[in-house]
């Protein structure tokens, strides 16, 4: 019998990165609810990843306040990923966080054959460092430009202009999380629906200025236009 040509087969890596604002204004209920929401969504995220054996999902989290630091220094397979509760305090060095994400999205350590990474930026405030410089650094990197970039604005003080610049797609506004329940729903949606879309994306023709490398499913209207009745933050 003739054996299959080539060596070991490899599924395509999909990197999912939480970029979390841990500044002083996040202290208390906001950071507690963010910790709860991500942990609550993890089983559904693992199940979603399990349903596509041709993608290997890796999860990581980066916190930023004074400076930024990786909670997991290396990508962790989603089936082994455990959320480490974040605490809050300090300024909002969002630009530094984006620069650090850019460093991880260069090739190598990334490969050209990866699936588009998913970057989710969660913030309740305004950057206190050079956000534009960090964003420019992220967008210099091919996988930074081609990543699925989403943002959750926690409360009314979040800088929506900054988050919209991070997303870079006029059709996808920042999600509005003005209470704990909305935050939980949005975190779960990006952990599952967006993950599914990113893990088996169809090809698409390169265009002059592609808005997104992955067609994002229709965003629930209450994520971007909440009624305001239940606003707490």
């Amino acid at each position: 019998m003739i054996t299959r040509p080539g060596g070991t087969l490899a599924t395509r890596p999909l990197h999912f990165i939480w970029i979390c604002d841990c500044s002083g204004s996040m202290a208390g209920e906001k950071i507690n609810q963010l910790n709860f929401a991500v942990k609550e969504a993890l089983p559904a995220m693992r199940k979603e990843a399990d349903e596509n054996p041709n993608a290997q999902v890796f999860v990581r989290a980066l916190r930023f306040s004074k400076g930024a630091e990786w909670i997991n220094s290396d990508p962790v397979p989603v089936e082994q990923f455990q959320w480490v509760d974040l605490s809050a305090g300090g300024p909002t060095d969002m630009g530094r966080a984006l620069s650090m994400v850019a460093d991880e999205l260069t090739i190598p350590p990334m490969t050209e054959r990866a699936l588009p990474p998913v970057l989710v930026l969660v913030s309740d405030g305004q950057p206190t460092d050079d956000f534009e410089k960090g964003l420019a650094r992220l967008l210099e990197v091919p996988w930074g430009r081609k990543a699925v970039r989403l943002a959750i604005a926690i409360g009314k003080d979040a800088d929506r202009d900054v988050l919209a610049k991070f997303i870079g797609n006029a059709e996808i506004p920042p999600f509005e999380a003005n209470n704990a329940e909305a935050l939980v729903r949005q975190v779960r949606w990006v952990s599952t629906v967006v993950l599914r879309a990113a893990s088996s994306p169809a090809s698409q023709p390169a265009e002059e200025a592609p808005a997104s490398n992955v067609p994002i499913p229709e965003i629930p209207v209450e994520f971007v236009a909440p009624s305001g009745e239940d606003d707490v933050w």
Binding site: P53, N54, P205
Partner: protein, 269 residues
């Protein structure tokens, strides 16, 4: 010449058809044409399985006509002056557009386009969007290669050295690719003439689901080397019979994508 196309494991799970296609032609004078195509898939490219089939048919037809019309020396001269590659690309696109035009149903195609949240499309060929790779071999004298979009062309020399004969594609990254459905798609083609002294022992044309099933470039080049070895040891017929099963196994354990492969093996003189 060998070719096989299999539905990807992810497509089988989702109940989607194979959106790749392959076609080949072998003339009595030793002229050979091989083409593979990868329809984009996805909601906005709902007819890309047909688009891929039209693409390989258009490529085979245009290459046959070219080989009938021009002697190898004229093909060589045309490529040397930089015009023949684009002329052939233009002819392939024209034939593809005509096939699409005959196939499409205006109402349904309009609905598909309206459903998208992107800016207005360049044309109604979009639901049929596909990549294309073509190889035209004229006797033992030359091989003309053309490629629009992603996918891989590997040339294996008799000593096992593997090269990529076409220049790299700046447009294809992540899941974005050049496509026959883009405006002036003929300008998106890359081309290369391999002359008599450069002809490889094996030429591999593959849609991107194949390379994406391996961790990196070297692992994928090993596939091409192994294929040349297998053809030499077991013969083309045995390899051709085994190829679909290998590709199914590769998709299941790798990218999950459809995989289509065409192989041109040089006969020893």
């Amino acid at each position: 010449m060998l070719a096989a196309s299999v539905t990807g494991a992810a497509h089988l799970r989702a109940g989607k058809p194979n959106q790749d296609a392959a076609a080949s032609w072998c003339g009595e004078d030793g002229t050979v044409v091989l083409a593979v195509a990868d329809g984009h898939g996805g909601e906005a490219y709902s007819r890309s399985d047909r688009g891929a089939r039209f693409a390989v048919e258009a490529a085979v037809g245009a290459c046959r006509d070219l080989a009938d019309r021009l002697a190898p020396m004229a093909i060589r001269d045309g490529m040397a002056h930089g015009r023949l590659g684009q002329e052939l690309a233009r002819e392939i696109v024209r034939r593809w557009q005509r096939a699409v035009e005959e196939d499409r149903d205006d109402e349904e195609a309009d609905a598909v386009v309206r459903a998208r949240r992107r800016p207005a499309p360049a044309g109604m060929t979009r639901p049929y969007g596909t990549t294309l790779i073509v190889a035209l071999a004229v006797g033992r004298e030359l091989v003309l290669l053309l490629q629009c979009g992603d996918g891989d062309v590997l040339a294996v020399a008799g000593d096992g050295t593997v090269d990529r004969p076409l220049p790299p594609d700046d447009r294809s990254f992540g899941n974005e690719t050049a496509s026959l459905c883009l405006p002036e798609a003929w300008t998106e083609f890359r081309s290369r003439l391999l002359d008599a002294g450069e002809l490889p022992a094996l030429l591999l044309l593959a849609t991107d689901g194949y390379a994406n099933s391996y961790a990196g470039e070297e692992a994928f080049r090993e596939v091409a080397r192994d294929l040349l070895f297998a053809v030499g040891r077991d013969g083309g017929e045995a390899v051709g019979a085994a190829l679909p099963g290998w590709l199914e196994e590769t998709s299941a354990g790798g990218s999950g994508d459809d995989i289509t492969v065409g192989l041109m093996v040089r006969r020893e003189a």
